[in-house]
């Protein structure tokens, strides 16, 4: 479970994140929806402790990210906005590198690595060097290495960005599977349809603020719109950048 309480982050004059609070529960998919530049990536970067908040607190499974940083990183699986692979290593070597850095014992890491490779349908590319991988193959590898330590919580920054239709469908299925395993899944997206399709809870962010949050039903009720799309446009105040 991830609890975010009143996060603030400014870069010079720009207040990228300006008072964001929400909770993402275990066994649910939570979507962080907002137009480009709304502060989604910065929020996630504070969650996975790449950045320190100016103000506010992040609790992951009850642990304060600012205090127990290393323990928090162990309980998080992260697919950041930057998902570069090591192109002179094979996909499997990329995964193993992260397994070692996460301190996963080999006896545990090896079978899990195989399960992830099978689940993500990347058996045919596992022994290939990642140079020249397609966007979809790269994302699969990046996800496998992010989950090699079997984290309770999974953070994904725009996971379907740049994927084709088939890969996007596969990604959705995979997120559902993570949810079914009881994990807390939090992903960001600027594509409304995707969030509407997948999420148990939606947190709508615009200009660094949370403008609405709740289940899709709650959002419809809050705005008085029967159509979720209209509900989003109403809370954000503009439909700019929300259509895939």
């Amino acid at each position: 479970m991830i609890e975010v309480n009143d996060l603030h982050k400014a870069f010079g004059e720009v207040r990228a994140v300006d008072g964001v609070s929400f909770t993402a529960h275990d066994g649910q998919i939570t979507g962080l929806l907002g137009p480009n530049g709304a502060g989604k990536t910065t929020t996630l970067r504070m969650l996975y402790t790449l950045m320190r908040p100016d103000k506010g607190r992040v609790l992951v499974d009850g642990r304060d990210a600012a205090v127990e940083t290393v323990a928090v990183r162990k309980s998080l699986g992260v697919l950041p906005d930057a998902r570069g692979l090591y192109k002179r290593l094979t996909a499997r070597e990329n995964i193993r590198y992260f397994a070692d850095l996460q301190g996963v014992p080999e006896a545990e890491a090896r079978p899990r690595e195989q399960r992830l490779i099978d689940a993500l349908g990347m058996a045919d590319i596992a022994e290939r060097r990642t140079e020249g991988f397609s966007q979809g193959q790269r994302v699969k590898t990046a996800i496998a290495r992010a989950l090699i330590h079997d984290p309770r919580n999974v953070l994904l920054d725009e996971p379907t960005n740049g994927l084709d239709v088939m890969s996007t469908r596969a990604m959705r299925g995979f997120l559902q599977q993570l949810k079914a395993e009881g994990r807390c899944v939090l992903f960001s997206s600027h594509i409304m349809q995707e969030v509407a399709l997948l999420c148990d809870r939606i947190v709508v962010i615009a200009k660094g603020h949370v403008v609405a949050q709740g289940t899709p039903d709650q959002l419809r009720a809050q705005t008085g719109e029967s159509n979720l799309e209209d509900a989003f446009v109403k809370v954000i105040g503009t439909d700019e950048g929300l259509f895939g």
Binding site: Y48, T49, L50, M51, R52, V70, A71, R73, K74, L76, V78, L79, P80, D81, A82, R83, G84, L85, Y86, K87, R88, L89, E93, Y97, F98, D100, L101, Q102, G103, P105, A142, R145, A146
Partner: protein, 392 residues
């Protein structure tokens, strides 16, 4: 469980060994270019010097008919007398001849009268061979003059020793190794440069390169303190730098004995013990260089920026060698505490077969390692900057 520092160290080595370009540049071309250029220069110099020493000296003479005895004497001294050119000054200026000797009727008259007989030598001392040929001729002429002078004194019943009140005896203390060291003045630079070049590629690739390829952010999401990530990368950089240094040293050890240095009375002290001592002496500066390179590469905003800064950094190891070439100074203890300067003196002492005292070893290693540690700490501080992973 493997330590994260080791995991990162191993991965960086594996990844870079798979990159043919890096291996070529860091471990083959970079470290070999110095020894090869040095060998080329030395062998050219040596063959030129030996040839010149054996070859008869060519001497165009104008007015040889005025001094037949002198000309005969010169011929016995391995001098080949040639007809003189019409315009000796132009011939020397055009480098057709190094030295031209001119005699005229005055010579015969003065010689007969027992006055100093004029001999004119036309040469250009700014030409490489002009001055040495002139010196060779002058010394032959001196010898001739002394012989004739002594005979004249004897003919008048005077002891010829009277005009030589002083007898100088030269006792040159230079050992064959030390004489060799004079032409090896730039060996320390070549060695240090090898290490700088070897580390440069990894320093850039593991930091600025990793950020540019967008893989630094996922890496930093792992539960590993950033200083450990930096340490793993720094160790990999140092390993390449040391590897490059070893290749340079081996190249020297192989090339040096192949050069005909003995003919010039030089000897190079390049046994296995000296080899290892050089490696140890250069060790701290290799670590220091890697730490400086890592810091700069982490601080630079882009791959390109890191490359240009580290390119400039390669000039720094030349500074002590250049200063010492212009202003030769005796090694004093404090100099061993200055990185690069200390290494320069240590390498030169080893080449000259002189002992490095324990005190000097201590200062050299102590100050180098301490500085390397301080700069590594700075690198760790730079790694802790929040925007390290975020490429513009």
């Amino acid at each position: 469980m493997k330590s994260p520092v080791y995991t990162i160290f191993y991965k960086e080595l594996l990844e870079n060994f798979r990159d043919r370009k890096t291996v070529m540049n860091a471990l083959i071309i970079g470290p070999l270019i110095g020894p090869l250029i040095l060998a080329l220069i030395l062998s050219t110099v040596i063959s030129r010097e030996t040839k010149r020493a054996e070859k008869p000296l060519e001497l165009p003479v104008i007015g040889a008919e005025h001094a037949p005895t002198l000309i005969n004497f010169l011929r016995t001294q391995n001098v080949e007398i040639q007809p003189g050119p019409k315009d000796p000054i132009a011939a020397v200026k055009a480098q057709d001849h190094n030295v031209v000797m001119r005699l005229d009727a005055e010579f015969g008259k003065a010689f007969q009268a027992g006055d100093p007989a004029p001999v004119e030598l036309i040469y250009d001392s700014s030409q490489r061979d002009g001055e040495s040929d002139q010196q060779r001729i002058t010394s032959i002429l001196d010898r001739y003059g002394r012989t004739v002078g002594a005979m004249r004194l004897v003919a008048r019943g005077v002891h010829p020793g009277l005009i030589n009140p002083i007898a100088t005896v030269d006792r040159d203390q230079a050992s064959p190794e030390a004489r060799g060291a004079m032409i090896l003045g730039f060996l320390p630079y070549v060695l240090v440069l090898g290490a700088f070049m070897g580390g440069m590629y990894l320093a850039i690739d593991t930091t600025a390169g990793e950020r540019e390829r967008q893989s630094l952010e996922p890496l930093l999401a792992n539960p590993v303190p950033r200083w450990q990530i930096m340490a793993g990368k720094l160790l990999a950089t140092s390993a390449f730098a040391i590897g490059s240094l070893v290749v340079t040293l081996v190249a020297f050890a192989v090339i040096m004995p192949m050069l005909p240095l003995k003919q010039l009375g030089f000897k190079f002290n390049f046994g296995i013990v000296v080899f290892l001592q050089m490696l140890v002496a250069l060790g701290p500066v290799v670590l220091l260089a890697s730490a400086v390179q890592t810091s700069i590469a982490a601080y630079a905003k882009s791959f390109r920026e890191a490359q240009s800064w580290l390119g400039l950094l390669n000039i720094i190891p030349a500074i002590p060698s250049m200063i010492l070439m212009v202003v030769p100074t005796k090694p004093v203890l404090w100099m061993f505490a200055v990185p690069l300067l200390g290494q320069h003196h240590a390498v030169m002492k080893l080449v000259r077969n002189e002992t490095i005292t324990n005190m000097e070893w201590g200062v050299l290693m102590g100050s180098g390692l301490l500085l390397a540690l301080i700069v590594s700490w700075i690198a760790a501080r730079i790694y802790n900057r929040e925007n390290l992973a975020i490429s513009a």
